[in-house]
Each structure stands twice: as structure tokens, then as C-alpha cells.
């Protein structure tokens, strides 16, 4: 009688089992990582509270209007969306200290010392009910890009790193004084105005 060892477990079906699982996960997977543009809505005014009209100086406000034909009006002038980014950058920064652009107020900022900041500027984005969402997002995107470019330029000049790399590797919840300093110089101020019916239905 030949000596017989313990018979090996047949592992040839292992591949099949693994394939089965693999196919299940392949099918049930959605790989998309969600991305988007973050915004903060203004809180609803209290009902009994009288609507206080905060007076904003004309020079501090940048009106961007998209009408129902998806046309873009900036400060009441028709504008091509290609020019919006440059126009917004000039408004936020006011590099030449023009009198019709937001006032530059010297502010103490960490790392930068006294720095002229256009503290009170507001970009007012108005849309019609008939504006397409796609156009609206394109405009939002251009405005965000204007801020991001300014922040990036400043960050590269001052710290030698890109703005988005300032927080890289650290917990997003953690404090980041260098990023905060840049945010203080270029605060994101896009106001999505109360809905209006411009030009009716």
C-alpha cells in the first residue's frame, strides 16, 4: 500500500470565487469623488426684525447680473464671460487705487504687517429665474477663479508655495495661520442676492 498524505484542498475554484466577488464590486462601485463649489448662504432675516438696509458704498459693490437670456451684465454693461475673471480681479484688488473701485484700508495682517485690504468689497451676483444653471455655475466659477488666482499669486510671492499647497498634508480642521492671512487679505465675498424676477416671466 502506498503511503498517502492528506489530500490537498483543491484550490482551483478559488479564482472563480474571487472573480465573483470582484465582479460584484465592479458593478456596485461608483468611483466618482464628489466635487463642487462651496458657498455660504446668508441666514434668513428674522420676521419681526426690521429689514435693515446696510448701506454699501457704490464703489464697493460689483454687480454681476445674468439675465434670462444668459447674458452677462457687469455694472450694467454687457460683458463677455471671457473678460469676467480679469474684471473681477481688478475689482477685488484695486491695484491702482482708483476712486471708483473699493477703498483699500490698511490692516494689520499676520506675516504681512500693514497691508491695504479692500475689506468692504462685495460681489453681488444676481440671476433671473430663467437663467440656466450651467451659465450660473460658469459665472460662479469665474468669480472663484479670480479669488483663487489672486490668492495664489500672493502666496507664491510671499511664501513660495501655491495657495492650495499651504494646507496640504495637514488636517483641514487644523488652524493654518498662513492660509488665514491670505484669506484675510482676499476674503471671498460673493453675495448671491435675493431672487428677483428681472424682466418678468
Amino acid at each position: 500500500m502506498a503511503r498517502r498524505g492528506i489530500p490537498e484542498v483543491n484550490a482551483s475554484s478559488m479564482a472563480d470565487i474571487a472573480f465573483l466577488l470582484l465582479i460584484f464590486f465592479l458593478v456596485s462601485t461608483t468611483m466618482d469623488t464628489d466635487t463642487g463649489l462651496f458657498r455660504k448662504l446668508p441666514p434668513m432675516p428674522e420676521k419681526d426684525q426690521p429689514e435693515e438696509q446696510v448701506k454699501i458704498k457704490e464703489r464697493n459693490i460689483f454687480v454681476v447680473l445674468v439675465n434670462k437670456y444668459n447674458q452677462l451684465f457687469v455694472e450694467n454693461d454687457l460683458m463677455n464671460i471671457h473678460e469676467l475673471r480679469t474684471a473681477a480681479k481688478e475689482f477685488i484688488e484695486n491695484p491702482e487705487n482708483k476712486t471708483d473701485l473699493p477703498e483699500r484700508i490698511p490692516t494689520e495682517v499676520e506675516y504681512f504687517g500693514s497691508w491695504p485690504v479692500t475689506k468692504y468689497h462685495v460681489i453681488s451676483l444676481q440671476s433671473d429665474r430663467g437663467t440656466s444653471y450651467e451659465t450660473y455655475i460658469a459665472v460662479q466659477n469665474e468669480l472663484t477663479a479670480a479669488y483663487n488666482e489672486l490668492r495664489n499669486d500672493l502666496s507664491l510671492k510671499k511664501f513660495g508655495v501655491k495657495y492650495e499647497d499651504l494646507s496640504r498634508g495637514s488636517d483641514p480642521e487644523e488652524e493654518n495661520p498662513r492660509k488665514d492671512a491670505i484669506d484675510e487679505i482676499y476674503p471671498l465675498k460673493i453675495s448671491e442676492a435675493e431672487p428677483k424676477d428681472i424682466g418678468g416671466k
Binding site: 478559488m14 470582484l22 456596485s28 461608483t30 463642487g36 466659477n141
Partner: protein
């Protein structure tokens, strides 16, 4: 010439498939780790617009989704853009209820970190979006995120035409 022909006795050996399970397992683990199982089935067609200045949505558990788009089932629900919350169509008034139930699910400490992602089709009008935004303000869910997918600037502008 014939004498160079080497009559080999052994056949070409078959490729060993012994490592196949390992390879498959490797793939399996990759997909298991990268998977997020779709928990809501979409009843509306949503093609989010393109954008370049995107921020990643961290911590999915803190995000609630609102879908806006045209219904897949045109015969039953028509072609006007509708709002979908969880698994069903809803009216704008339902949003406040939805937000408070989403808040209930979260732990006390996380409630103020809650954000809402608007997954809206690029083709919808701002009217419905504005209504949703107003409802969100009433529900004081102020952190919102306009869902968009990454694209080049050229794609964005070309799409507008």
C-alpha cells in the same frame, strides 16, 4: 540545415495559473476599498456642469444631497425639472423636513458642520434652484455646495453656446 533542427522532447510549458487568484484578489481589494455603494437610485437625470475651481467634498457622512433635474420617466412625471430627496420626488416645502431629519441622524457635535450638496442638472433653470436655496436658508442649512465636475475652461465656455 536539418541537423540544426533540434527536436525538443518537451512541449512548451503551460503558463502557470497558480498566481491568478492572487492577482484577482488584489483587484478585488482595490475595488472594495475604493467603492462607495450607491445608496440612492436616481430618478432624475443629472449631468452636473463643468467647473475648474473645484473643492473636494470631504466626509460624506456630513453631506446631504439634493438632486434636481428632469425625470427619467418622462411618460409618468413629465419633463419639467423636479427635486429628488432620498428616494422620492418632493416639493420644495419638503426640504425643511428633509434637512431636519438629516440633522437628527447626525451626532450633536457634527450638526453644525452639516453641508448640503446641490446636484443639479446644467440644463435646469435658476428658478427652481433659487427656491431650493431659499428653503435651505429657512431651514438654516447655510453651507452649500454646487456639485460640478472637473473640466477645462474651454469646455465650460463651449457648453454655454
Amino acid at each position: 540545415m536539418a541537423r540544426f533542427k533540434h527536436k525538443s522532447k518537451s512541449e512548451t510549458p503551460g503558463i502557470s495559473t497558480a498566481s491568478l487568484p492572487d492577482i484577482v484578489f488584489m483587484l478585488l481589494f482595490f475595488f472594495m476599498v475604493s467603492t462607495t455603494i450607491r445608496d440612492t437610485s436616481l430618478k432624475v437625470a443629472v449631468t452636473t456642469p463643468f467647473a475648474t475651481e473645484l473643492v473636494k467634498l470631504e466626509k460624506k457622512s456630513l453631506v446631504s444631497f439634493i438632486y434636481i433635474g428632469r425625470p427619467h420617466d418622462k411618460e409618468t412625471f413629465g419633463t419639467a425639472p423636479r427635486i429628488q430627496l432620498n428616494d422620492a420626488f418632493a416639493s420644495t416645502e419638503k426640504i425643511r423636513e428633509f434637512i431636519s431629519s438629516e440633522r437628527e441622524k447626525m451626532s450633536e457635535g457634527d450638526r453644525n458642520k452639516m453641508s448640503v450638496s446641490l446636484k443639479a442638472d446644467g440644463d435646469t433653470d435658476m428658478g427652481i434652484i433659487t427656491d431650493v436655496k431659499q428653503e435651505l436658508r429657512k431651514a438654516s442649512a447655510l453651507k452649500i455646495n454646487y456639485s460640478a465636475k472637473s473640466g477645462t475652461q474651454k469646455q465650460i465656455f463651449d457648453n454655454l453656446k
